[in-house]
């Protein structure tokens, strides 16, 4: 115990006096702080967007309601009713933006054909998408391992090359103890730095303390420990400090750059991105089938420049009923195609997730995104919500249209509203955490088991 204290005390002293360490810690800290603000600004942008649409929805409804005089046909109000179905960012999304910048996070929905409304895209700068987000997850996954390598690569080799190792070991302490204590000390330093950044993030982004925080910290601790395990193994191979640094950077490249990108390449080859022409073609073809009957009539009506107010004759009402039925079968026809591609993407995602177990960095990214609900799964859950809500909205108006009920003032309050239900515990993160735990134990186990090649 006393030995631990002594070594840690002098390690701290050496660190404080080392310019490399001071610069390193400052750089990592500043990058971390920047990443927090960056993540917040990106997520705030999305939040603002949602607030704006919500406001739009409210004013839209207010105007409709204000213009409402007598009871009228339900389809007229239905056509004017847009409802926001959103997938608001969780507070953890500030720290791990994940795929949120790629997937749409809201649909402004009407009661008619879902297929025509669901294929939205987010606008974004592709060059920015290409380099990815500079969020805290990036700093933890990419930058921290480099910092760990920078302060730990020569943990024993520096003593050997500096000539202090023999003098040190002439004392009643073994090289294993020295290595272990030094690693432990560095681990604490690194984790504290990460912890401080986490606290800052909690304050800056006003994140609530909850179970996710524990899981996030656990993941971070496991990931860092993994890298210390690698350092342990390299240190025990007892090469020169230059070779140590080279090997560690190679490990970093392997786990952070090569394995994830190669998995991705593999996925691209086996699931090549498709222009999805079948779905696009069906969407327009079937749509035309519906409209070819009606479109002409309206165009003729329009060209007569009769007043723009909706006609109330029964032929129109019958048209509406017919169109509604056709749209419903349209959605039904397209359903399998949508499901096909959804399934394809989910399969791809699932295989990617399984293959991610080859790289601790990919696993960690997955866990962070999963905890923050910013992964592809979250998007597809959202799509399900959209479908459910659309059905609710559609049923509401259809009931009135097909029962020949008029829309009354009181009905405004009955129009369904969408309420986002946050997922409580991202259960699918547990498996990845388990994988990460196995990686870490494995690496650490091998590292601890190994003997020094030389002293």
């Amino acid at each position: 115990m006393k030995t631990i204290y002594i070594i840690c005390k002098y390690e701290a002293l050496t660190f404080i006096r080392s310019n490399l360490f001071k610069t390193g810690i400052l750089v990592v800290f500043l990058l971390g702080v920047y990443s927090i603000f960056h993540g917040k600004s990106e997520i705030d942008h999305q939040k603002d967007s949602l607030v704006e649409i919500k406001k739009h929805e409210t004013t839209n409804m207010a105007i409709t309601q204000a213009n409402f005089k007598n009871d009228t046909f339900a389809y007229i109000i239905g056509n004017l009713t847009f409802k926001l179905v959103d997938n608001p960012p969780s507070s953890w999304a500030n720290l791990s933006i994940g795929q949120r910048d790629i997937y749409p996070f809201y649909v402004f929905l009407r009661y008619w054909s879902l297929s025509r409304q669901i294929l939205t895209t987010e606008i974004n700068n592709p060059e920015k998408l290409l380099v990815g987000n500079f969020d805290l997850a990036f700093v933890f996954i990419y930058v921290f391992p480099l910092f760990i390598i920078a302060i730990g690569y020569n943990i024993v080799s520096s003593e050997r090359e500096g000539g202090t190792l023999h003098l040190l070991l002439s004392n009643p302490i073994s090289i294993y103890q020295v290595l272990f204590i030094k690693l432990l000390f560095r681990w604490v330093v690194v984790f504290l730095l990460a912890f401080v950044l986490m606290l800052l993030a909690l304050i800056i982004c006003t994140i609530q303390f909850d179970a996710v925080l524990i899981l996030w910290l656990l993941t971070t601790a496991l990931y860092f420990t993994f890298w210390f395990g690698i350092i342990l193994i390299i240190a025990k191979l007892s090469k020169s400090s230059s070779i140590d640094a080279l090997s560690l950077v190679c490990c970093w490249i392997l786990f952070v750059l090569i394995i994830p990108t190669v998995i991705n390449l593999f996925l691209t080859n086996f699931y090549p991105p498709s222009p999805r022409y079948d779905i696009s073609h069906t969407i327009r073809h079937e749509y035309e089938g519906i409209w070819s009957n009606f479109d002409k009539r309206y165009h003729v009506a329009q060209s007569r420049h009769s007043d723009n107010s909706e006609t109330t004759d029964s032929s129109k009402l019958n048209d509406i009923k017919e169109i509604s039925v056709l749209f419903d079968s349209y959605d039904e026809k397209l359903g399998p195609l949508f499901t096909k591609y959804e399934k394809l993407t989910l399969d791809k995602e699932a295989i990617g997730q399984e293959l991610s177990l080859l790289s601790s960095a990919a696993l960690t990214q997955q866990i962070y995104n999963c905890l923050a609900n910013t992964d592809a799964k979250s998007y597809f859950n959202f799509l399900e919500d959209v479908k459910t809500f659309h059905k609710e909205l559609k049923d509401f108006f259809f009931k009135k249209i097909f029962n020949d009920q008029l829309f009354t003032k009181a009905d405004f309050a009955k129009i369904p509203n969408y309420h986002f239900k946050p997922e409580n515990t991202p259960k699918h993160a547990f498996k990845s955490i388990l994988y990460l735990f196995i990686w870490t134990t494995l690496v650490l186990g091998i590292g601890l088991k190994m003997r020094f090649k030389k002293i």
Binding site: K2, T14, R17, L167, S170, N171, P172, S174
Partner: protein
């Protein structure tokens, strides 16, 4: 106190030590002479446990080094040929660190005293070791060894890089330690100093002890002659 029995160390096909048997009593200074590669440093490394013997035994204070690697080091102090220290710690801090590892808590004053005793100028005490010369580092190394209050002292060319005055002072310190029952094993090239301070002198060649001489039985010139004949 320091004892080896038929100690043999093989590196691949090459023998570094061949059946070396030594026995150094408390209070005795034993000097090992020999050319580079004769096995002097390997012997010292065997006592420290850095080198695992191929066969034979190494004992410190009656304990086998192989079986009690950590405990035997409590009785040992070691000064390498070229003392290297933590360069961004000061002399005092280095001394404090190593003595603390050995289990001693000295006050700043006591540490200063020890450094003064080995002849380090007081102004250097609180400077970073990176500014030290080789001799200054060597002196701190000696202080570290003294601070450990060890029962046995292992010296690997301890006086290399010391000026004659410091060298002389070092000899005095060794004599003083020996008087307090410390066993000292010193590997050296310096025939003159070996004759002057050691009680017994061993000459090594190709890993074995070829002759062992009591220093009181021989003059420096004769010793030199024997040395040259042997190697």
């Amino acid at each position: 106190m320091l004892k080896t029995k038929h100690l043999t160390k093989k590196y691949g096909e090459r023998f570094a030590l061949v059946g070396l048997s030594l026995d150094i009593e408390p209070g005795e200074i034993f000097a090992l002479l020999g050319q580079n590669g004769a096995g002097k440093s390997t012997t010292i490394n065997c006592f420290l446990g850095f080198v695992k013997p191929t066969s034979g035994q190494v004992y410190v204070n009656g304990l086998s080094v192989v079986d009690h690697a950590l405990e035997t080091k409590k009785y040992l102090a070691y000064i390498p040929e070229n003392v290297m220290l933590y360069s961004n710690l000061t002399g005092v801090e280095n001394l404090e660190f190593f003595s603390a590892l050995a289990g001693f808590n000295y006050t700043k004053k006591e540490l200063g005293k020890m450094l003064f005793k080995v002849g380090l100028q007081i102004s250097a005490n609180d400077q970073w070791v990176s500014t030290y010369s080789k001799g200054m580092r060597q002196k701190v190394g000696i202080a570290i060894a003294i601070a450990k209050n060890a029962k046995a002292l292992l010296l690997d060319e301890p006086t290399s890089g010391l000026d004659p005055k410091a060298s002389n002072e070092f000899s005095n310190i060794l004599n003083e330690l020996a008087k307090n029952d410390t066993a000292i094993l010193m590997a050296t090239h310096d025939i003159f100093r070996a004759k002057e301070i050691a009680g017994r002198i061993g000459i090594m060649k190709e890993g074995s002890l070829v002759s062992e001489i009591k220093s009181s039985d021989i003059t420096t010139n004769e010793l030199e002659k024997v040395y040259l004949q042997t190697v």
